[in-house]
Symmetry: C2
Subunit: 312 residues, 2 copies
């Protein structure tokens, strides 16, 4: 009987859901910290859980064959010097719908001026000025994986034009035009909204830099949901202070939680959320595990396998 | 050559767009007020414009055959004693997309707690609590005309369940379950969101009353975009003060602009907008006129003809 180690804050909830799924017999160990286990876990061939916790456990898993993370990002497992003698798969089709709702919440709030309307109400001002609309605007997706593809579908639903910038893939048909390689500034010119959903790799570090922000048309809006490291924070502050960008919405930061002295907290036209764009409900989180476990038991290729060199 | 009278604040813009559309020859008169015309307008068989202005002009149009309004509501033309010896058609497929963006702006803002997040940012509080999501929630549409149908399509896009309450029509297939007649309380039970888009008729006056609000589950959200008269304002204030309703979003009011002393301005959990949910861009507004004019010249039935007795 294969052994599964669940290593996550919500370990007991995951155990309950996995046991309720009626899988072929599995010996399940569920802990919230590696310290709860004494010594090695020689029976565990499979690990499901949080990348940061799994990294600590890596030396104590002599028969490890496969790790499924609960996150899309797997940076802790990519650090130099760590073993890479197992299959690593990351979460997929888990965050798309909640991140999509998040992005369209802010896009629509910007067009329909929700915060302005509240201020008018507070001052008893019958503010009959019209708002804008998404229909006809252009959305640029920096990164078109499963989350980007879902954003593209919603953008088309609302009648937007959609551009995608990727390394080479062109998998979503909801994207009207793709850009690759050195065409990132060309991609940026003409965007009303730029949404950054790139994974954290060497190639995407500071991809949103002064040049890219400068290439956006005046009045554009930036939303960063990918990784804080994708963004040059100083360049963003300048773009907001100069008034070139109308709004930035940031859910991720280079250092989280954001330190209290960071200028972002009080920068005008910058709205912060707190790494909350993706919802993490246990019944969503186990879906990729269940799908991949079925493949694993049949000896098939696992979905969303991470290339340790490429980093996603 | 038939004569067209354009009677609207944006008369010159409409004239430009209509002339640019390359219609069969039309003698066009465009004014912003009836007073700009001396005496009768005997050459005008067709009038396009604002219902309130057209009402004033009615006695001075001896050859009137057809009126196309720029609004969905046509109350001024339905008053007792006014002539009804012409075809009356109202605006259609004009407001759906902007009203839909408006509704989903507020639905998503509620789920993703946009105003709470801003308060957290203002107090430098890293608020990692999760938000909710639309997927799986139930939307009830009080009224399913062309606007309701568009709302239903977007609700399905976001994975919601959709109920519709109508007099008898069941025209939108995006609605999962229809309710009619005395089933309005049954319709209301189990709704997360109630969106009121009914026309202003005797049958819809105060349709959102204390009993309906009481039938909504605790924590429900009401959005009123239809007509202010559809809502019992006192009952709404009670439902908000008791905490039964989580939120009301109101775009229309019994008296507009809302008087400065009205309690709505400062009611907690009530967000006001200012009859701004529908955008009125001239190139949108003339589409129903152009479509119906083509039908008129071919002697065909006009679209969205108003039944003077029924009121819509």
């Amino acid at each position: 009987m294969p052994g599964l180690l669940i290593l996550a804050k919500q370990a007991q909830e995951y155990r309950r859901l996995i046991e309720a799924a009626g899988l072929p017999p599995l010996e399940v160990t569920a802990v919230t910290e590696p310290d709860e286990l004494a010594g090695d876990a020689p029976g565990c061939e499979i690990v499901f859980g949080e990348a940061r916790l799994i990294r600590e456990m890596l030396p104590r898993l002599p028969r490890l064959r496969w790790v499924q993370t609960t996150s899309a990002g797997v940076e802790p497992l990519l650090e130099p010097g760590l073993r890479r003698d197992y299959l690593l798969t990351n979460a997929f089709d888990v965050f798309g719908d909640s991140m999509c709702e998040y992005v369209f919440a802010y896009l629509l709030a910007h067009e329909r001026r929700l915060f302005d309307r509240l201020r008018s109400q507070q001052t008893r001002h019958w503010d009959h000025s019209p708002g804008g609309r998404l229909r006809g605007r252009t959305l640029g997706l920096l990164g078109v994986g499963s989350i980007g593809a879902e954003l593209a579908r919603s953008a088309k639903h609302f009648g937007m034009q959609v551009r995608g910038y990727t390394r080479s893939s062109e998998s979503s048909r909801a994207v009207d035009a793709y850009y690759h390689g050195d065409r990132v500034l060309e991609f940026a010119r003409g965007l009303d909204y730029l949404v950054c959903v790139v994974p954290n790799t060497a190639a995407t570090r500071r991809i949103v830099d002064a040049a890219l922000l400068q290439a956006l048309p005046p009045g554009a809006v930036l939303i960063n949901l990918g990784r804080g490291a994708a963004l040059d924070e100083t360049a963003l502050l300048q773009a907001l202070q100069s008034g070139r960008l109308a709004l930035a919405v940031l859910d991720v930061f280079e250092h989280e939680p954001l330190p209290p002295e960071h200028p972002f907290w009080q920068t005008p036209n910058l709205l912060m959320t707190f790494h909350t764009s993706a919802l993490h409900e246990p019944h969503d989180m186990i879906r990729p595990f269940l799908e991949n476990y079925a493949r694993f038991t049949r000896g098939e290729t696992l979905l969303h396998q991470v290339d340790f060199e490429r980093g996603y």
